[in-house]
Subunit: 441 residues, 2 copies
Amino acid sequence: MKYKACEIISVGTELLLGDIINTDAAFLARELAALGIPCYYQSVVGDNPARLRTTLETALSRSDLIVLTGGLGPTADDLTKETAAAVMGKTLVLHEPSYARIRDILTKRNFPETENQKKQAMLPADAVVFDNDYGTAPGFAMTAQTENGEKTMILLPGPPRELEPLFSERVRPYLAAQSETMFCSVNIGMYGIGEAAVGHILRDYMEHGQNPTVAPYCGEGEVRLRLTARGNTEEACRQLCLQLAEEIRGVSCEPYKPGTMNDYIFGIDCDSLQEALVGLLRRKHLTVSAAESCTGGYVAKRITDIPGASEVLSGAYVTYSEETKQAMVGVQAETLRDHSVYSAEVAAEMARGCRASVGADIGIGITGVAGTEDAVVTQNGVSVTVPAGTVYIACADAGNVTVEKLQLPPGRRAPSEAREYVRRRASSHALFMALRMAEKL
Amino acid sequence: MKYKACEIISVGTELLLGDIINTDAAFLARELAALGIPCYYQSVVGDNPARLRTTLETALSRSDLIVLTGGLGPTADDLTKETAAAVMGKTLVLHEPSYARIRDILTKRNFPETENQKKQAMLPADAVVFDNDYGTAPGFAMTAQTENGEKTMILLPGPPRELEPLFSERVRPYLAAQSETMFCSVNIGMYGIGEAAVGHILRDYMEHGQNPTVAPYCGEGEVRLRLTARGNTEEACRQLCLQLAEEIRGVSCEPYKPGTMNDYIFGIDCDSLQEALVGLLRRKHLTVSAAESCTGGYVAKRITDIPGASEVLSGAYVTYSEETKQAMVGVQAETLRDHSVYSAEVAAEMARGCRASVGADIGIGITGVAGTEDAVVTQNGVSVTVPAGTVYIACADAGNVTVEKLQLPPGRRAPSEAREYVRRRASSHALFMALRMAEKL
C-alpha cells in the first residue's frame, strides 16, 4: 500500500459533548484495516478552526493519509473544508457538477436556494470528487507535496447513512486502486474459554505470528480470534488463515483448560453461537425448541435473530412460573416438590417436554436464578437457599438428556449487569450444548 | 469548576482497527459535560508506548485534566499506566489494598496467581485510588506540577461494564467535590417520536435553555431527553428538572406530530420501555403474556430483563409457525386461511389466546415480516406479497383488542441490521401499547 500511516479525524462538537457515539471512526478504521492501511491515531475535535488547524498540522507531521469526517454542512460553523484546504495550501473554487447536483436535490425537496449551498460545492481545483448520492455535501480527496513528503486528505460527510455507502461505493475503490497487497481476515468463534486463557495458550502465535497475525477479542463468555494474512490475492490470504485455523484446532489447552482448542470452537467466520447453531441445524434438517425460565425468551430470541430460523424453530415456551412449567411443558408436580424448581431434574423435564410438545429433534430446558439475590426454594418441605447465578441447562434428543449446572459468578457487576450477564451466559451455554448435540445427530 | 480544559484519550489497538466502537469516549464526554468540565479533544491511540507518550505530551500542553481509558490489563502489552506515570514523573509502587483485592478476586475464580496481577496493583504512591468493584484493574487519579501548571490524569479501565459504574460511583463524586456547583440530570424516555421532531418541537428549550439545559439522545425508535440543572444542592437541581419535565409534558407537538409531548413519554428516569411496563404492572398488580412470531421471544426477553418480572409474567409463547400459532394459542385455521398469517386478525387471536391460556390481564400478539425480503403468503387461495417490515401488533384485555400495523422502513441498512431494527421496533411498540393499556386498567 502506498500509505504508510493513516489517521482519522472526526470533527463535531456533538461528539465532544457525547451527544452521539463515534461510529464513523470505527467504520473507517475497519475499512482502512481491511485495505491494509495502517492507522495509528483517531482524533475528535470540535467545530473550531484554530483547534482543527493544530490537529491537522500534528496529523500531517506523522501521517501521510488523513481521513476527516464531519463539518461539511452548509452553515457558517461548518469549517472543516476551509480549514483543511488552507493547511494543504489549496484554494477552493466552485465545482460546477456538484453545484448542479446540490441544486437538483434542493429543488426536489422544495428547499429555497441560498448562498450556503454554493459553499458546499466549493472544492480544491485538483480534488478527486466523490459524488454523494445520499446527501448534499460531496466528499473529495486532495493531495499536496509537503516538506514531509506527499500527503493526502480525504474529506467525507459525517452522518453515517451518508458516509458508509459513499465510502463503500466511491472511496474504497479509489484507495484499493493504489495498493498491490491484499489483506484478509478469518475469525474463529469460541465458547467456554476466556480471553486470558486463550492468550496464554496461543501466546507464541500472538507474539511471533507474522503472516497471519493472531489477536483475540472477548465478549460475554465468547472469544473471537482474528487471523489476518496478507498476500497477492484474497484467495491466497484466506488459505493462509484457514491453514492456521486448522493448526490451532489441534493446540492443547492444558494446563489452563482440558482438551484442545477444537473443543471450544463453535465456528469459523461465524458471527455468533446462534448463527452456528441455526446453520448446522439447517444443513442437517434438524429442529429445536426451548422451554426457558430465567432466560425468559433469550434463547428463542437469539435463534430467531438469524434469517432462516423458521426452518429450525417452530415454537418455544417461556415458563417463568411453576404453574406454566407444568401446564406448558408437562413438568411433574412431584419433580418440583422433590427436587425444587432449580434442579437438573426440572431442567430435564422442561427440555423433554418442549421437545415432545413441538415435535422438535432437540429440546432445551433452562431453570435458574438470574440477578444478584439468592433464591429460597422448598425442596421436600425443607427451605433451601440457591445462590444467584445457579443455572441448570438441559438438552434432550430422542434418547438422551444432558444437564449441565452453571454457577455464574455475578459478583463484581452492577445488579442490572449481573442479571444480563447470567441470562446471556446461560443462553450462550444452551446454544453451545445444542450445537454439540446436533453435531452428533 | 477547577478544570479549564479536559481531554479524553482512549488506548487500544482494537479501537484503531475498528473492532469495537468507542462508547467509552461518548460516555465520558457526556459525564464531563454534565459536571461542567469543558472537553476540547478526544484521541485514540494503540497499545504503543512511544505513540502514547507523544499523545500524552500534546495533551499536557493544552489541557489540565486528561482522562484515559484502556490498557490497564494484566498483560505485557498493557502499558497505559507505566507510560502515563513516566510522563507525569511518578514512580509506581505496590498498592497493597489493591493487590489484596485482586488476589481475593482471583482466589474466588480459582485462577492461579501470577506476577501479572502484581502489575495491576502497581500505582503512583500519591495516587487517589478508585476501587474497582467490577473488575481487577483499579482506577486512579494522579496530579503533578508542570511548567504549564497543575495537571491531573485519571486512568480508568476500558471495558464499559467496569468503566461506567466505576465512574458513576467513585470518579464523579471525586470530580464533583472539586466544584462548588452541583449538577443533576433527569431523563425523559419517549417512544413513537423521532429525535428530529423532538428537536423541532423543543427548539427553544434546547437553544436557549440555560438551567436546566435540554438535549435529546436517540435510540431505535426511542428518544431520551436529558434535562441538566445546576445549583447548590442536588435536591434543588432535581426540582428544577422535574418542574421543566412537567412543563414539557404539556408542549404541543403540532405540526410535527399529533397531540402533546405527554402522549410520547413513557417514563421519567426510567431506563427502558420494559422497566416502565414492569413497574406499572407491579404497582397495579396486573399480569401480561405474549405470543410472538417475528419477534421470536424479544418481548418476553425484554420483560424478563427487569428484576421482579416474575410478578407480572408467568409464561409466554414463541409461535413461529402456523402450526404452533394454532396449537399453542388457539389461532383458528379459518383466520389463517381468510386473512393470512400476516394480518390484524391473526395478531388479535394470538393476543387473546396467550392471555386466556396463561390467565394474564393483558395479552400481546405479534406477527409480521422481519428482515429485508418481502414475504409471499396465501390468503383465500390467492398469493399476496407482504413487504418486509410489515408487522401487526395486538394488545388484548378482558374486553378489548387493539391492533396496530407498523410498516417499518428498512432504509439503507445491512440485512442483519434491518432484521434487528424491525424486531426491536416491533417489540418496543408492543411494550408501549401494553403500557398504555395497563394505564387504563
